[in-house]
C-alpha cells in the first residue's frame, strides 16, 4: 500500500501526460477522418502505434547503457529547454502577444492543410489522411515517451512526496484543455513544470539544494513570478507598439 502511494504521483503524471498528448493526436486524427473517413485514419493511427512500439522496443534498452549522471544531465537540459519554451509561450499568451491554444482552430487548420496537401502533391486524399494520422500519432507518442522518461529518470521521481506531487500540474494542464486556457492557469501550470526542470541539469552537475525536494516550492514561486514579470513587460512593450 505504502509503495503504491509512493509511486502513484509519478504514475499519475505519466498517465495525465499521455492523455494530454493523446488529445492532440486525436484532434489531428479526427480531422483526417472527418475529411476522408475512418479507414485511412485508422490505418495511419495503427501504423503510427506500431512504429512507435518498435522504436521504444529497439531504443529503450539502450538507455541502460548510458551512465546515469550523463542521462540526468542530458534529460535535465532537454527538460529545461522544453519547460522554458512552455513558460515563454504561456507568458506571451498571457500578454496577448500570441493567441491562446485552441483545439478547434487546430482542427480547422489541419483539415485545410490536408486538403491543400492532397491537391498540391497530387496524392489521393485517403493517402494524405493516413500519412497525417501516422505522423500525428508518432510525433505525440514520442513526446509521451520523452515525458515518461523524464518523470522516471528525473527528480520528480525522487524520494519525497512533495517533489512528486509538484510535477503533477505540469502534466495535467499544459494549456491545451479548456480549463487551462485561462491565462493564470496556463501560467501557473507552466511555472509548476519548471520545478523539476530546474533540478534536471542541477542534478546532473551534482548540485544539492538545501531542503532537497522542498526547494521545489521556492522554485515554483520564483518561476511563477518570472513568468508574470515577463508577461507584464511584454504587455507594456506591446502597448508601446500600438500607441
Amino acid at each position: 500500500m505504502g509503495s503504491w502511494l509512493a509511486v502513484a504521483p509519478a504514475v499519475t503524471a505519466a498517465f495525465l501526460a499521455s492523455i494530454v498528448e493523446a488529445v492532440e493526436a486525436f484532434t489531428i486524427v479526427l480531422a483526417a477522418a472527418t475529411l476522408r473517413g475512418w479507414p485511412p485514419a485508422a490505418l495511419g493511427t495503427t501504423a503510427g502505434l506500431a512504429l512507435l512500439a518498435a522504436i521504444v522496443l529497439l531504443l529503450g534498452p539502450l538507455l541502460d547503457r548510458v551512465p546515469i549522471h550523463l542521462l540526468q544531465l542530458a534529460i535535465g537540459i532537454l527538460l529545461l529547454l522544453f519547460g522554458l519554451g512552455w513558460l515563454r509561450r504561456a507568458s506571451l499568451r498571457a500578454a496577448g502577444i500570441i493567441p491562446l491554444h485552441d483545439e478547434d482552430a487546430i482542427f480547422a487548420s489541419e483539415a485545410a492543410d490536408l486538403a491543400e496537401q492532397a491537391n498540391r502533391q497530387r496524392r489521393s486524399l485517403g493517402w494524405a489522411a493516413g500519412i497525417t494520422a501516422l505522423k500525428a500519432v508518432l510525433l505525440e507518442g514520442v513526446e509521451v515517451v520523452f515525458i515518461v522518461i523524464a518523470v522516471g529518470a528525473g527528480p520528480a521521481s525522487g524520494r519525497s512526496l512533495p517533489a512528486r506531487w509538484c510535477s503533477l500540474p505540469e502534466l495535467s494542464s499544459t494549456g491545451r484543455c479548456r480549463a487551462s486556457r485561462r491565462i493564470l492557469s496556463n501560467l501557473a501550470s507552466a511555472s509548476c513544470c519548471r520545478l523539476s526542470e530546474c533540478f534536471g541539469p542541477g542534478k546532473g552537475l551534482g548540485i544539492a539544494w538545501p531542503g532537497q525536494d522542498l526547494a521545489l516550492l521556492l522554485f515554483a514561486a520564483l518561476f511563477l513570478g518570472a513568468g508574470l514579470i515577463g508577461s507584464g513587460f511584454a504587455r507594456k512593450l506591446a502597448a508601446v507598439e500600438f500607441a
Binding site: 537540459i77 532537454l78 529545461l80 529547454l81 522544453f82 522554458l84 519554451g85 513558460l87 515563454r88 507568458s91 506571451l92 500578454a95 502577444i97 500519412i131 505522423k135 508518432l138 510525433l139 514520442v142 513526446e143 520523452f146 530546474c198 541539469p201 542541477g202 552537475l205 551534482g206 548540485i207 544539492a208 539544494w209 538545501p210 522554485f219 520564483l222 518561476f223 518570472a226 513568468g227 514579470i229 515577463g230 508577461s231 513587460f233 511584454a234 504587455r235 512593450l237 506591446a238 508601446v240 507598439e241
Partner: protein, 71 residues
Amino acid sequence: MAMLKELAAELIGMFFAEKRLTLEVLALVAVTGLLVDFVGLDALVGGVILLFGSLGLLIASVCQAARPRPS
C-alpha cells in the same frame, strides 16, 4: 524520406523552437558546469547561477518576442 525529415524537424522543434533562448540556456548550463567542475566553484553557488540565469533568460526572451520589430 521527406516524412522522416519532417518528423525529425518537429521533434527538434519540441526542444529547440526558440533558437536564441536555446543557445543562451545551453551556454548557461555549460558555463555553470565549467565553473563547478573546473574552477572549483561551490556547487550550490553554481545552482543559484543556473536558477537565476534561467529566470533572467526567460524574461529577456519574452521581452524580446514582444518588442516591436523595426520595419
